[in-house]
């Protein structure tokens, strides 16, 4: 009997399958006082993946990187958090690494990722 089996996380239908190199839109619930709204954070999956046939660890995280007004911004999300409304994959990327930290030092043409078909 282990803890993960007693309290497993359950993958949600609104979270699409993704892997490093994909471009994804993460819809996050934001609470502003009494109001709740959904804010999107779109960028490249730098680390972490999600498969529908695999139950993730309860505390599983993934990192998304986007370049906003010339500044690189990375956000790490808890995959199972109720604050994650949905994850939509907008582009599949073809990469040879599990962790794309090398993108941090690259800009422009060198920071491109081939599309996976």
């Amino acid at each position: 009997m282990d803890a993960a089996a007693l309290l497993p996380a359950k993958p949600r239908e609104t979270i699409e399958e993704f892997r490093p190199g994909d471009t994804a839109r993460v819809n996050v619930m934001i609470r502003e006082g009494e109001r709740e709204r959904v804010q999107a954070f779109e960028g490249t999956i730098l680390r972490g993946s999600h498969r529908k046939d695999h139950i993730p660890l309860a505390g599983y995280t993934f990192t998304v990187r986007r370049v906003s007004y010339g500044i690189g911004v990375e956000r790490t999300f808890l995959l199972n958090s109720p604050l994650i409304d949905s994850v939509l994959v907008t582009r599949k990327g073809k990469v040879k690494r599990a962790r794309l930290y090398y993108l941090r030092g690259l800009t422009g043409k060198k920071a491109r990722i081939k599309e996976r078909r």
Partner: protein
Amino acid sequence: MTIEGLLGRKVGMTTLYWEDGRSDGVTLVEVGPCVVTQIRTAARDGYEAVQVGFQNAKHINKPSAGHLARSGGRFRHLQEFSVDELSEYEVGQSMGAGVFQAGDIVSVQGVSKGRGFAGGVRRHGFAGGPKTHGQSDRHRAPGSIGAGSSPGRVWKGTRMAGHMGARTVTNVGLKIALVDEDRNIIALTGSVPGAKNGIIRIELKRRTDAETRPVLFGVLPLEDETPEPIVEAATVEDVVDDIAEVSTDDADATTSAVEETTDDAVEASAEVEAEAEESSDTEESEEKETTS
């Protein structure tokens, strides 16, 4: 019914999400079943308490067996807890996770993981020596342990290398996030001393209202859902039952076979006979070989 606490077994840690989006690291603890083994009364013992037993002992000595006879169990761990109302408890009574409520503040006591003989860097957080600039053998050295000829000795209590861990540790102020009475599991926010499967003593300190509900992914029972049975817990007894059934079936089969052979009627029994003859033949031949 309020008891001061119960004994439990550390299951492990996981992450729990709350409805407002926060998350907490929680330790799951299997609480009980704890059975009352003795009632301490003011008249006889000078204080009031309830002694409870937890987990089955593999071996038990005669004095313990005598002490536990009335509770009907063989317990490995015995601990006493004070209670509000002594008359509500009787020997043999079983308690579990239902003693606790979500929102309860508890302290937990357990034996921390043993680290063996540990150096100053690990045991006391010493910085060790420089890694470079010509250092040799000084990387994890403790440094000076005191002044020179005055006082001319090492102060008592000076932090040095030595045995670390494997001592009783109490964590206070943990909150109960979740109570699952069907599986006797509670979730405590924060960490609990000791390794998995370690025995811990949980003491109830005060009750607070659980402000938010945890987000469950349909696995632990929500109020309107029936819980999934635990496979592991069920199998042990089932297997024992199965073995018992099988053995009785075998006994019946052999007796009937014997009866059939005496009647000398059925082919199947004849086959059994043939096999028996063969085996006896081989045995005899072997015996002859050994004698010759």
